[in-house]
Symmetry: D2
């Protein structure tokens, strides 16, 4: 059994990690920390876990994370970078669900995240945990930077086009819509039920932190070519789910359907739908799957890709467990093979 | 492997049954029928099942249900009663998720369901499939009448009080609220999104078909005493979930919390919450659990019970699989042990 | 033009008051205060009011409320009681949308609200602002205690029965369901979209502050007889709306439909539906109307009343304007005659 | 008083028209027709109109529409074109809320709507009822083609840019999201609550009927230049509201904020928000306003416009009344000046 620790399990990615790990046959949760909730039973905070998770929140001191095989950080940005070096030194592997190790360029990270990076020397060791791109590197990684939710949906949607060099990289558009759980479990007015239901809005048009993460990923796929991306996130009144609608101008001819099917043929967690499909976010609710459809409206030179994930699973906790499975040589689908909940 | 057939898998109880059976280690789906959809792949109708269910809808003739070990009817009322005798004769066990075999008294059934019963002689063989009450009878049953969704939540909530003879049976009140999936997957105006969201209403106050089913169950628990029940169902804007708020007048003193905990101490799928709790429907979303809290406001003589289930799981498909597990001697939780999806 | 001031216009009752007053032909908003938002334009906080409300939030000092004809308190409990005496002394009439003056008995108020009452001597002057009961007293009032949302729906539903002495007062049940806006516009985890949507729960079963308010009202209707009420509030995933389902045991025969129609025949804002109706909360969305249906299931001795209001209108701001209209001799429907928004 | 008739008042645009006309000081509803509902009181079907609309649905024969001053068609596509000639001949003015007269080119219309046009000769007389573009022509029109909901939001968003010649017309993108009421009040599975809530999807990517309508409008704004538009509509779980996110490549420099403010400076129903704003659909819920924000992310050459309307008001019934007001010389805001409902 793999000994697992979780730092910061009181948010939505934390409770989702607990849901998945509780159903994983090869792990044992040995510690979960929360300064604010230390001493409270996890299942008292999250009654959905009653009878399934016996753990009690501990202080970081009590938790003895150094004895774990792997520690997940389900914390706000800026925490993992302070504790990772010590854990790695103790031989513990680390998977950070926050953004601390996602951006290779320190200056870029510091600009978008508004703080000084506490562990810039670790960035070279961090592997960006998108298995469909980096599986081999993840296998040997000590430190995995789990991708953001929008970046997962957008990168998987653009990936076959960009790798194949078929689109104008200077004018990509990603119009993305997220369920409200993406904003986390913080008490804030703008995500109250009465503020966020029965309404729809864009936000962060001037610049969202996932923009540089996506741009970095697309540039790598494009073998280093610069990418011009317009990224507009929206808040939509559903709990879980991201729907990315991607637009690009074709610069060469190709059978797009065949391209996508071929690129993802061996991937259990990426499902390319038949021609003329429209994936719904609910078709992946509670599951680790990304479903993708590719369109070419009216046969013109604009390609439209539709990509959906559950932001808390493939966009966060599920992908983190997928990365853990790869790192520890387990079957990749272990513990994350739930059938989506529909309706 | 148990060979399973499903009649009528195009509604919500059908697709939920498919979700659960797809994750059950000891069953193989050998046939699924739908006159309207014959020839279509199940996963084309329900993309959430892509990669998990390979079945194709067949006509009843093609399906050869007589070769199954067990057949689930996930059909409208009035279908199972026409086909059950033949299946039983072929040695197939039957679990009806509709109402055909729930009411022992034919006249009562015919009055509330507005049709002539096609198989009144089978009613004596049918076991009412509420495991927490009838587990032993279910074990040997050839024909199980799976309880309705409201009746499951209401009966489990009243059960300890009625069995213990603590309440005035002549004036019980069950104020129940259901998510919209309880109305099924039929195209109707009143359950359109624009009609059923952002609103709340009662319906069927003059009389709902689940009233005689609940009354029959409570009367049995009360060893045959007559029961006076006022049952008011409501439609609430959520997909899955039933919340029953039950009111009764105490006629004797007792430690109600201890009573409930004791009655359900061995039950994996009934969870009695600590004193002063308020179960939420989402705490059982996608799971087979019923969570219950018991209150005595201001220490008066009115007891209030709060009982929540997922109407499609413990209120339908999950309980049906639980019954199958009991009938076939499997572990009761097999295939229905998913952790609730939260948020 | 009536000069109107609002204290605390940043919550939902405040912005709703602004919506209604902006469409009222005989009022002029002369001041609106908020310590936290002083200096900000109201329409910058609430873009729905752009082009319709020019006001800027002021500090209480700047606002010169003493020059208003009437001041509405749309504040948390405990504020109005500190400022009302001074306003009354300046000849300003006061309508408190919070609970400070709703309970005549100081000890009861202090027990349920957990603070010392700052102006117990004003309680005798305060008129409980339920026009369908107290219209004449409201006409001459200087200080109106605007009823709570649950109390409005519950009292209007029970009123004809209690006044007529037809029901057992010792065992009344009010099972009430509220939209989430009833919890206000405070940043709290439990009313986040991801916590409060797609779920349903009871709360405050042990005791809710609206219980003594309702009990007081029912007792007055019953000419002083004691009332035994079980009140269970629930949170339901809709923005606006309260649905009260009321249960009582009949102690005498009567034509209930005729009774209700007769009692409310002259009331513009109470609509008694035809026999066998089920009012929906959306049928009053955005309007000051209370719709009521009365049932007697299976002809038994239990009467069921269904009563719906918009908690922010008839349950708060609309009723406050209705009271203002009565106090100032205007047509009662002035400014609050909007047709409900459907769908 | 203007005598108004409505053909087909049982859908959402019909009931919304009734809501607005019930509050209009200068109109009298003299006839409303529905073959299916003839004889039924309108308020029995729509309880929100109880006490406000006394009308009874009539058959077309009974209704004597020829005596009206104006007739609104709130019917499915293909009805108005059959009855308009006769009404015009009788001196009745006609406003069609459906699509029959929106496309000037008959062949294009017939291709997208899949039927033969019954009155091609009337197309030349029909004025496209977008007041912000065609106010003068509407003033003298006998027949107004009320714009579609998506076309209203998209055209008002692109209008200043296209008129000013600032963007590359060959690659415009309109990513639009609609509330479910846009699909109408038809009983269909895909718009059931349990299908359309808590999920998000695109539809009609291969081609939506509003595409040629928008393209026609943009081409006119561009003085006849061809336009290359990619239009992707999405279904989002809210009742009312359209959010259009528009992308275009700038071909010249300009102060975009000033451009938009100037273009719409005199327009009561178009509200240009301050720089860096994100309009929400709820900020226009129940109102005839379109709110617009213009962005230029990272100062690049891509302009992003955000445009929101209530699809049933500015996108249908409200704009129809606005057109009527213009046609009859009334104040343009008459009857459609409600403050949005928030929250």
């Amino acid at each position: 059994m793999i000994k697992v620790g979780i730092v910061g399990g009181t948010g939505y990615t934390g409770v989702e990690l607990l849901r998945l790990l509780a159903q994983h046959p090869h792990v044992r949760l040995t510690a979960i920390t929360s300064r604010g909730e230390a001493g409270q039973r996890v299942a008292d905070m999250f009654p959905s876990l009653r009878g399934r998770v016996d753990a009690v929140f501990q202080t970081p001191v009590e938790a003895q994370l150094g004895e774990c095989d792997v520690v997940f950080f389900a914390t706000p940005n800026g925490i993992a970078m302070q504790q990772t070096a010590e854990l790695l030194a103790a031989g513990v592997r680390v998977i950070d669900l926050a953004a601390d190790f996602r951006i290779a360029d320190v200056a870029t990270w510091e600009k978008w995240y508004g703080m000084t990076h506490a562990a810039p020397d670790l960035l070279a060791d961090a592997v960006y945990g998108l298995p469909e791109v980096n599986r081999e590197q993840i296998r040997g990684a000590r430190l995995v930077a789990n991708p953001g939710c929008y970046p997962t949906a957008v990168q998987l949607g653009f990936l076959p086009l960009v790798e194949a060099g078929l689109v104008d990289l200077s004018h990509l558009v990603a119009d993305a819509k997220s369920g409200v759980s993406g904003a986390g479990r913080k008490a804030e007015v703008h995500t109250l039920f009465s503020e966020a239901s029965d309404t729809f809005k864009a936000y962060g048009v001037a610049g969202h932190r996932h923009l540089p993460e996506i741009s970095q990923g697309l540039t790598r796929m494009a073998a280093g070519q610069a990418v011009g991306l317009t990224f507009v996130p929206h808040l939509t009144p559903l709990i879980r789910g991201i729907h990315a609608t991607l637009y690009a101008r074709l610069t060469a001819e190709a059978d797009l359907q065949a391209l996508f099917e071929s690129r993802y043929s061996g991937e259990r967690f990426v499902d390319v739908l038949p021609r003329n499909s429209h994936p719904e976010t609910r078709s992946v609710r509670g599951s680790n799957v990304c479903r993708i459809a590719v369109h070419r409206p009216q046969g013109g030179d604009t390609v439209v890709v539709l990509s959906v994930i559950d932001n808390l699973v493939k966009g966060a906790a599920g992908q983190a467990v997928q990365n853990m499975n790869i790192m520890f040589g387990l079957e990749e689908r272990c513990g994350i093979d739930q059938v989506p909940l529909m309706p």
